[in-house]
Symmetry: none
Subunit: 230 residues, 4 copies
DNA sequence: TATGAATGAGCATTCATTCAT
DNA sequence: TATGAATGAATGCTCATTCAT
């Protein structure tokens, strides 16, 4: 089989922004502690209040430090937000879940990777939503988001092309457009399932979500037929 | 055939918010003119600056009237925004495009409704993006957006159920989840194609977009087989 | 005699900054009142506390209006300061004192113009000091100050050249350098006499100041001799 | 001739502030090095950014030490500034230039002392400007500046009185006022020549500056006549 | 001595909203 | 209806200074 799996996760995102390098780096353990506390506090406040509505004072109160300390480590609200988002990005892109190594079945691979995606999304759902909110205002976060999406898409497009070459997928679909469409589909399902305030509301058990997404994904690529058992 | 078409547009959105009833209604022609100018100006400013970044002063400057006049017609920024969004909603839901009445072919119907959807989206792309932005902050716009999405979804779910009943679609897919997933897929494609700052960037000719979306959609529902010609 | 008088005042300063055009112009009488009150209050506070130490809150308190009103009329502290300085500049440059028309005697003319200069300086002493303070920080005020000085100097240089041409002044002095030196001398005397915190402290009656300055000025130019009486 | 020379420099300034005694004195060589580095760095930063705009962090960065070390040696920003200014004062007051001992000619003596003054001013121009800036805000620097000026003035006044007593200078000028006026004149010329951002801009060769200043100075005192050669 | 993290008072600035004219 | 001046709560941010290590 091909070495690339056809799922929506993407381990190869170019990490042009080093997650640990956002803001000023502490030189002592005490500094590190404060900085970490601020990132954790910021995440909590952002998830609770949203980016625009969040106040620096609330973050420093949560982190139990002064406003001055905040500015010791970050240039402003956007910089902590970037740090928080980086943390989440890392989790999304490297979910640390063992891959299914034991199968060659494309459907199984897609299913596994959808499962991993939904799990990672669930952990970072609100933050993903916030990234969208901020990206609508701040161009630099726009690039960040786009970079991530593109990485997913390219990866999936490669996998689709591979399946087509092996005669397993419908030759009539454009690999790039399909990759984009199916990535979007899965991420919308994730939104519906894990964002209580998202555009859609889905109430489905997680495993049913995975199988539904996988069914649609494989159908769309014309992969279903070989698996007569389904 | 069924009376409902299986496309993503939805003419049956409960108009719980009457587009024309947002804000105060003018009693004179002069008032009407001012109010209209304000809505047009607001749309322009919102699309240019985004909701959060837009300033009432810019809107009234654009409309060539005073701040005082603004408050004569609207309660505040959210109310003009609601008025602007209503206008766009109407366009999205009733694109006013002649339906393909002459065919029973489900694929043709899906293609036609995708085509209509993309066209409507293109006209309102930036505003749809803004609605997402605002919905992330303001619960009442959240409901507005959800209501629209749900209407689309329910409509499509009914159509899918119908196709399944007629033996034309894969019985293995859950109609509601599929409707949600496929609506999401199409709207993501539209974002990619028409929002220069969206998460994805698609550069595809409009008609190719329609056919790609339709192919994936029909494949996903298992509709492709009967259409051997494709 | 020449039509230019050899004194340090200069009515021909190019008013490249229209005093009345600094900041936003009011459209109503009420606005005008508020704006005027702010300028007066700002002058008072600036003269009392200095530019750097002055606080916007003190200015608006003095003007009995809100901080918001301040920003209705001025962009910030520098802009009110510019407005205040403009007012003083106008006074310095157009003291509105009747010129001695009845004499051709250069010494009398110099004396008259020194008298006018000292009088104008006395009214604006603290503000002149502040302008120096601000000019040390803000380049745009630097230009403002330089423009004024240069205008004085050029005017005086012309007068000196004229006196030399008429054989009344020492041919050995460079008109421009002398103009600069003598303008500086007079302005330093004015500082010493009218700025309690200036570099020098002079305690001399005003009229003695005028005659001392005039004596030095005319001596320096070699004008004394023809006036045998002195 | 009299033992006092009639130039603007003044070697007798009461050194009420011992230049080396400002701040804490180091007990070790390492401490001395740090302290010296801080003074040098402070001068550089002050001259570059001005007093008000300069930041302690920039000074310590320039001196390659920590903020903590700064406070080991100085009480605050004003104290380093005092130390820096003292350094410059010493240079201004004791230029270390060999006096013209070989002449009794008052004009030559004035010329020599103007020459020395301009040379010293050039080395410390920016710092003199800063002292004015700070004196406008801080009363203790005000005294410092005034003390220096007064010393110059008194010294010159004595010289003028001496010349008058010997029948060499115009009896009609008040020695104190003349001393002040002429000191001011020379210092203004120095500003114009050596401060690119000063109120005046003079572009004259240094030696021409000296001769022009001397010519005006001697003229003003009525000293020129005896020197027929000039 | 040297370090650098922590502090927080203090100030400028924004902008939706009100209301007298 | 239309106007635009007035309002001030709310917030981000700076930077000299302290002090534990």
């Amino acid at each position: 089989m091909s070495t690339t799996s056809a799922g929506p996760t993407d381990p190869e995102l170019p990490s042009f922004v080093d997650p640990a390098r956002v803001g000023t780096q502490p030189a002592t353990a005490r500094g590190q502690r404060t900085r970490d506390a601020l990132i954790a506090a910021a995440r909590k406040v952002f998830e609770r209040d949203g980016y625009v509505e969040s106040r620096l004072v609330d973050i420093v109160a949560e982190a139990r430090c002064s406003i001055g300390s905040f500015y010791t480590w970050f240039e402003g609200k956007d910089e902590v937000f970037a740090a928080v988002v980086q943390q989440a990005q890392n989790d999304m892109l490297h979910p640390g879940i063992a891959r299914v190594e034991s199968t060659d079945d494309p459907v199984e691979i897609i299913a596994a990777s959808n499962r991993a995606y939904f799990a990672a999304y669930e952990r970072n759902a609100r933050l993903n939503q916030l990234l969208d909110q901020v990206a609508a205002v701040d161009p630099s976060f726009r690039s960040l988001r786009r970079a991530r999406s593109q990485a997913f898409v390219e990866r999936n497009a490669r996998a689709i092309r591979d399946l087509q070459a092996r005669g397993l997928a419908d030759q009539g679909v454009d690999p790039t457009v399909a990759a984009m469409a199916l990535s979007g589909m899965v991420s919308r399902l994730a939104q519906g399932a894990f964002l209580p305030d998202g555009p859609y509301v889905i109430e489905v058990a997680p495993e049913d979500l995975v199988s539904a997404a996988t069914r649609l994904w494989t159908n769309a690529l014309g992969l279903t037929q070989p698996q007569l058992g389904r």
